[in-house]
Structure formats: C-alpha cells, structure tokens
C-alpha cells in the first residue's frame, strides 16, 4: 500500500505543478489562518486575517519595533517620527524618497514612487461613503475640513481633487495632518495596517474589485488569492533595502537570540508566504506536526499534549519533551484584549443607575465563577481582567483591582438587601414584585454551550431566571442595537496599543457604536473627554484609574479574561518573536 501511495505521489509531483504543501523549501513560509480573508483593500477590511496580509503588502507611515517591549512606534516610510506642533493638533511627516510600489500594469511599465499625495488619497478613502470603510470610526471628525468634503459628496464618491486643510501634501515628500482637536495618540492610529498607502491609479483601474488587487510598497505582493482556501504572497521586487537592526532586550533571551542571529540580514529573508485557510483544529495541528506548516498556534485540544503545565500555575508552561527534543520552539503571547459580558444599561430590568440595579448587576458578576471558566474552558491559558485596559497597552495599571470576587453567598445577601425577594415559584422577583428574568445573547457552538452552562449555574445560584437568545453574531448585534438584548459577551482587541481604544467603549456618545452597553455616565464622559487632551502619563493614568473605579461601581460590564496563546515553530525557523501588533513574516528566515 505504501508503495502504491508513493508511486501515486511521485506521479502527482511529476504531472502536477509544484506541491503547495510539501516540506518547506528554503525561503518559503507555510502557515495557516483559521478563517479566510475578506479582501486586501486597506480601507475595506477590518478582520485580523485580512489585515495581517494587508500589513505585508502596504506600508503605513509608522510601524512597531519588532523586538521592543513595551511596544515602540518607529518610522516606516518616513525619515523620522513626526513633528507634533500646534499643541498636539498638527502632525508633519517627511516621507523617505526612493520607496516604490510593486509593479502593476496601472503604472504602465514605469517604477512608481511613493509620495505624500498617496497618503492623502489613502486617508481620504477611509471616509468615502461609497467605500463604507469599517475603520472609518477611527478618523471620523478628526481631519480639519474633511466633514465638509464628505457632506458635499452625499452618498456619492468623494472629490479627491479638493484639497482640505486636514490632510495635505506640502510638497512631494511632506505630509501634514491637521486635527480638529488634540489627539496625542493619532500616530498609533496611523500605524495601523488600514492606513497603508494605496496608489490612486491602481484603485481606479481596478474599481470593480479593489479587494482582490492589492498593490503597495510593502515587502510582499499578492501572487494568488483563492478566497477561503489559500493566499500566496511573494517578495515585492521593488521593495526598498531594509536591514534587520532591532535590538534585543537583555531581560528577554528570545529577543536577544533573534537580534543576534538576524542582525544585518536583508528584509525579507522569506521570499514566499503560503497561507492555507484551515478551518478545523485537528488538520492544523497534524499539518504542523507533519511539517506542512512552519509555525502554528497550538489549538486548545492539543494543549495538554504539547505543553507541560505547572499544576499550581497553568501559565507556567514548557514544551512537552517529545517536542522539545525535536527542537520545536514555543512562544507565548498575552493577547492585547479583554473579554467581557455587558448589560444593556437602558433595559428596565438590568439597566439603570439606581442602587438596586447596581446591586443586581454586581450580584450577577459575583456569582460568575470566572476562575473556574479560566481553568476549564480556557484550560488555564488566560488571566482575569481587573482593569478595562489590558497589559501591554498604554494606560494599563497592574495594581488595580475591580474588587468583584466570586462569592455567591454574598451576592445573594446583596440581592436580599436590595429587595429582590424570592417569589412563590422559587425565583427572585424585582423589588416592585414583578417577575425578574434575564435574557443573554449567545452563539450556537459547543464552546458557547460550555459558557452557558457556567452562566446557568451562576443564575441558578442567585435564583434568577435566565434564558438564552441563540443567534449569529450579526443577529445579536442587531438585537443589541435595537435594545432587545439584556446581556451579551464578546471580546475587544486593541486596534492600536493605547488605552483610549478601550476606554472609548464606555463613553456615552459612543452608545450604539463601540459602547455596547449604552453606559452613559456624565462623570465618566467628562473625564474621558479630559483624557483625550492628555498624552500617556501620570495625569491621564489617574483619570483612567478613576474611570475604572466608576466602571467597577456601576457595573455595566462584567470583565472576564485575557487569553494567553501558545505558538509553536519548527527548529528551522529563525528570528521568530511573536508580536501582536505586527506579523513576523518579513523578519524571519527558514534554514536547516
């Protein structure tokens, strides 16, 4: 049988084209995404997988130091970090000359240089109504004169030839941005992959399908995209000469090793990136073990097999000997995210700001066995959230504690004191004697059902009726916007590593947008507005602490956990240091 199969394989190899999933040839990186990308137009996509590809095709003005922790912004296509004037309202960027777009027929055979006007065009596209950019909320109302331009366009395309004060090219290489209000974090927004430069002529030549025709100045260009199946990138022949010169952190041996082995090497060493869309965990894991993939996240079911966990501290892990002996590498990554459940603050039963409603929400939070869900569902690979901003994001406070601990007895006592009496049916009633029943939104997967069991247990311990509204994400999002959900859980990952990206979720005017619960507390709103005028520092931190205390006091959210991922790589992958803000593809090499 083995021989027959081998003969078939050989025949296939001779008759077919090159094997996409064979053992990695040098200079080719084989990885997997657990979901397909939706496209590669930086203004049109917002999912993580599309953006990972976008970030390797297009160049934002700034990027992050590959090895530095805490994360550090560095120039990308600019000569130096921007000069910030006008009290934090004006940013001026000097673009490096000699950066070229990847070849494309739209350039009619000429090498096309990146200029300031490309960024002007690209940033304006984010607010074009015909594009409906999912990232538009990041820059809405930010650029001086942009609102007027958008309004003039109505539902049609923007007039890109109209110059505005907010985004302008002062000369071929100088870009100036004038903001409507002070924003010290704007550089972190502009470092997002969505703010990479596109060439207007390419966009106009491929208007019908800009998602499938990405052309940028980044290290890679798109070779092939089979949506839902495969993405192939190859090195951009016009990519500028960049050399690996990141410094390691003496406290982090991995970064020191990477800095040493990659120092002075041309970027990118990997000349082709094959991304396989593998939706299921088992084939991802087996494909990695079979050397069909070079790097992978360890799927949850394989954690016990791949890692040796310290029973007293499951976050203290090392590779299982059978993998360590083969030279496999393990890296750990605490995600820049928080997961949470929220209450609809406009709901007559669970919303509101009166002491009784606060007591109800607090009791529900106290009845939820968070440590148990971390141990069982997350298999110990998560940490509890005690601050609305996660670790690694500017504004995080490791010493803060929300003060909500698992204690069903106290939670029941709190409900008794607040007047939520137990009725004749054995369930609690509202203080006015009317029935009390909470409905929570949920998905339909097996993992969702596991969470639901813990929630059911929590509500049962409080003697409060709980029902679940099962639906797809879009249905639940719609129901939530229409005020038809009382509770729902989700995660928020950092768009950029600044606390403002998290604290805006609780800002009243963002209700119906990123403020899922509709929390609207004037004191919080006032402090939030104050923080926008401040750079990251002691003064802003004090305000963030105060705002976190308000969140703990009013309890519109039940903060859950932050996940810790484990990433494995084969021994021939060099230079790997996972970074949640940028991909490692261009910084590694593969050699035996």
């Amino acid at each position: 049988m083995k021989k027959i199969v081998q003969v078939a394989l050989m025949t296939a190899l001779t008759m077919g084209s090159s094997m996409a999933l064979a053992v990695s040839p040098k200079e080719t990186l084989n990885i997997a995404f657990p979901a397909g990308a939706t496209g590669f137009d930086p203004a049109k996509v917002s999912d993580q997988y599309s953006l990972n590809v976008v970030s390797n095709i297009y160049d934002p003005l700034m990027t992050y130091d590959y090895l530095a922790r805490p994360y550090k912004l560095i120039p990308n296509t600019i000569e130096a970090m921007p000069t910030i004037t006008n009290g934090g309202k004006t940013y001026t960027f000097k673009i490096k000359p000699g950066i070229y777009f990847a070849p494309d027929p739209a350039f009619k055979g000429k090498k096309r240089e990146l200029v300031a006007a490309d960024y002007v065009y690209s940033f304006k596209r984010m607010l074009d109504k015909t594009i409906n950019s999912p990232q538009s909320y990041l820059v809405e109302g930010q650029f001086v004169g942009m609102d007027k331009l958008v309004k003039a366009a109505g539902n049609g395309p923007l007039n890109y030839d109209t110059q505005i004060e907010g985004i302008k090219a002062l000369d071929k290489y100088t870009l100036q941005i004038n903001l409507t209000h002070v924003n010290y974090n704007f550089d972190t927004i502009l470092a997002m992959p969505s703010f990479g430069a596109v060439a207007r002529e390419v966009i106009e030549a491929n208007k019908a399908n800009t998602n499938a025709h990405p052309v940028g100045t980044g290290p890679y260009e798109l070779k092939e995209w089979r949506p839902g199946s495969k993405i192939e990138l190859v090195a951009n022949p016009n990519f500028r000469k960049e050399v690996f010169n990141f410094k390691g952190n003496p406290k982090d041996p991995v970064s020191m090793k990477v800095a040493k082995e990659m120092h002075g090497k041309i970027i990118p060493q990997v000349k082709q990136v094959n991304i396989n869309i593998i939706l299921e965990e088992q084939p991802t894991w087996l494909a990695f073990l079979n050397n069909q993939l070079d790097v992978t996240g360890i799927p949850q079911p394989a954690l016990k097999e791949a890692l040796v966990m310290n029973p007293k501290n499951p976050l203290d892990v090392k590779l299982a000997p059978k993998y360590a002996d083969k030279g496999f590498q393990l890296q750990r990554l605490k995600q820049l995210e928080i997961t949470f459940y929220f209450f609809n603050m406009d709901d007559p039963e669970v919303g509101g700001y009166t002491p009784q409603k606060i007591a109800l929400r607090r009791a529900i939070a106290m009845a939820f066995p968070r440590n148990e869900t971390i141990a069982r569902i997350r298999r110990g690979q998560a940490v509890p959230v005690e601050y609305a901003i996660p670790e690694g994001v500017a504004g995080y406070n490791p010493n803060f504690n929300m003060g909500i601990n698992f204690n069903p007895a106290k939670a029941n006592a709190l409900l008794d004191a607040a007047g939520y009496k137990i009725g004749p049916d054995g369930y609690r009633m509202q203080p006015d004697g009317s029935p009390l029943s909470v409905q929570m939104g949920t998905g339909s997967t097996a993992i969702d059902r596991q969470w639901n069991e813990y929630w059911q247990q929590a509500f049962d311990s409080l003697k409060i009726k709980l029902t679940f509204k099962v639906g797809r994400w879009s249905e639940l999002a719609k129901a939530n916007r229409e005020g038809k959900l009382q509770m729902w859980g989700m995660a928020w990952g950092a768009d950029y590593p600044d606390g403002q990206n998290f604290m805006q979720m609780f800002y009243g005017p963002n209700k119906g947008d990123a403020n899922f619960s509709g929390f609207n507390l004037p004191a919080y709103n006032k402090d939030y507005e104050e923080t926008l005028k401040l750079p990251n520092g002691e003064k802003r931190q004090k305000l963030y602490d105060k705002m976190n205390r308000m969140l703990a006091q009013y309890g519109p959210y039940i903060f859950d956990d932050t996940r810790v991922s484990s990433i494995m790589a084969h021994s021939d992958v060099h230079g790997l240091k996972v970074n949640p803000l940028i991909t490692y593809w261009r910084y590694i090499e593969i050699k035996k």
Partner: protein, 312 residues
C-alpha cells in the same frame, strides 16, 4: 418523448419561481443583516444605513425581488457582499473541486456497494451475507466525523501515506495526491448504507416469478443476475444515484473543511454565516436547476432501462 421533455422543461419555470419566492421570503425573515458584519467594529446607525443603501437593502421588498428575478434571468448574481468577488467567479473556481471529490466518491461508492450488494444478495443467508450486514450496520452507526478524524490521524499523520491537508494547482496533483484520502473515507462512509439498500433491491427482484422462470428455462446464473435481476433492480438505484448527483454542486462541507478542498460546501456555509445573499441565491438556483434536470434525466433513464415504463 420530445413533447414530454418540452413539457417537463416548461414545468421547471413555475417551480423555479416558487423556489425563488420561498428563498427570498426565508432570507428576508431569518437571513440576518449583513450590514452588521460589514460594519466591522463601527456599528453606528449612519454606517449601518450607508451599507444597507450600498447593498440595496433599503429598497422595498418587491423591488428587491424583481432584482432577484432579473439576476436569475441573466444568470448574473453580481458580487459577493462579504468579499466583493464576482459570484460567477466564486462558483466557477469552487465547482471543480466539489465535483472532482463527489463524482469520484459517488462512482467508487456505487461500484463497491453494487458489488457487495449483488454478492450478498446472491449468497443470502450465508455467513458472508450476515457478516456484511453486521459490518454495514456497525459502520452506519458511526458518525462521518469519526471516520474523518481517525482517517486523517492514522492514514495521514501516523502512516504518512497521504498529506494531512491541502489542495494544489494541477488536476493530476489534486486527483492523485489530495483526493485519495477524503475519497477513501467518503467511500467507507457511504458503502455501508448503500450496500444495505441495494441488497434489499436485489433480493426483492430475486424473489420475483420471472427470475424463477429464467432459472427454469436453464439460463446461467450469470445471465439471470446480470440481465434480469440487475436490470430491474436498477430502477430504485438510478433514483437514488440521480437524486444525489445534483448535490455535487453543494459539495461536502465536512470533507472540505477537514481536507482543505476549496469546494462549494464551505462557500455555502461561509455565505450563510455572513448573510451573503448573492452567493446563497446563486448556489440555490443552480442547485434547483440541477435537481430538476437530473430528475428529468432519471425519468428518461427509467424508460431506457425498462421500455415498459411510460412517460406521460
């Protein structure tokens, strides 16, 4: 015969219209709102409204249905709402892998199950018959997921006979390298129920008077089985095969997900999850047309197999 075919083709029009109306109603009632997916993290009322306008969801329902009718008439379903790829391109690139897997699966399954069914029917009541029946019953009670997970683990990972996962660029590469493992698993799954069904078809025919007559006339067992029994047993078999062929269009979701086959099964699931109505519409319409055409072909085949069948 020709008038029968023309009449059946005419009958397809109201059927198609009915399906369109049903699909449109169902999507409107429970299809979800794609604007909430496309909006990303920004769920402002303005963004949602703008996306709805762009997708044409702000138009009245009759207007939206008329657009659907026009799309069916021109067979142009526009672009996918989630990836902006032309729907025709999605179907063109996905149908090949689906058909390659399911057609070979169907043919192999038919061959092996007919072989087993005919032989066990012939040796009805023997140990061989009982063994095949017991094995079939056990095999039928195991979920396809178990076959896939075990097959992938043992045959691909442990034995290293096949790649765990993947899809290449050339026909032969896919046919010889990537198709065999899902094919073996698929055949293992479907042979058991098919064998049992076909066995009963054969046994029913073998008990008929005409078989006894044929034997009494001194015909060889080979002739009795192949010329008389097989031919008459084929009617329900053809029905089963012809009714399953159209579903080659929809692919096999599980096989595609686990083996990385870029077929239509996954595309349908993705479209449903993202409320991508243009893709759902196109695949449903193509499927309905395929079902109607294969039903017609099945009727014509009945006539060819058994000339006594009348096409009214």
């Amino acid at each position: 015969m020709l008038s029968y075919i023309v009449r059946r083709l005419w009958q397809m029009i109201p059927t198609l219209l009915g399906v369109m109306l049903l699909l449109f109603t169902l999507y409107t009632l429970v299809g979800g709102d794609p604007s909430y997916i496309l909006a990303g993290k920004s769920l402002s009322a303005e963004t949602i409204a703008s996306i709805r306008t762009q997708l044409g969801l702000d138009k009245s329902l009759p207007e939206q249905f008329l657009i659907f009718v026009k799309q069916v008439l021109t067979m142009n379903f526009g672009t996918s709402w989630s990836t902006q790829q032309p729907v025709s391109e999605i179907i063109r690139t996905r149908i090949g892998p689906s058909v390659m897997l399911l057609l070979t699966w169907q043919l192999c399954s038919l061959f092996f199950s007919l072989l087993f069914a005919a032989s066990v029917a012939y040796y009805k009541g023997s140990i061989y018959d009982r063994a095949v029946t017991i094995i079939s019953t056990v095999a039928m009670s195991i979920s396809i997921l178990v076959y896939i997970i075990a097959g992938q683990y043992f045959l691909a990972y442990k034995m290293q006979w096949f790649p765990v996962y993947g899809w290449g660029n050339g026909f032969w590469q896919n046919f010889l390298l990537y198709i065999p493992l899902p094919l073996i698993i698929g055949v293992a799954v479907s042979v058991a129920p098919d064998t049992r069904f076909y066995r009963s078809c054969f046994i029913e025919e073998m008990n008929q008077d005409y078989v006894r007559t044929a034997r009494a006339k001194g015909l060889s067992e080979r002739k009795v089985m192949l010329k008389h029994v097989m031919r008459n047993a084929l009617i329900p078999i053809v029905t089963g095969v012809m009714s399953s062929l159209p579903y080659m269009i929809t692919g096999s979701v599980l096989m595609e997900r686990f083996f990385g086959i870029p077929g239509l099964g996954n595309e349908i699931l993705k479209a449903v999850n993202s409320s991508d109505f243009p893709v759902i519409k196109a695949i449903t319409i193509y499927l309905v047309i395929a079902i109607m055409v294969f039903n017609l072909l099945a009727d014509l085949l009945y006539k060819w197999i058994d000339p006594r069948v009348k096409l009214n």
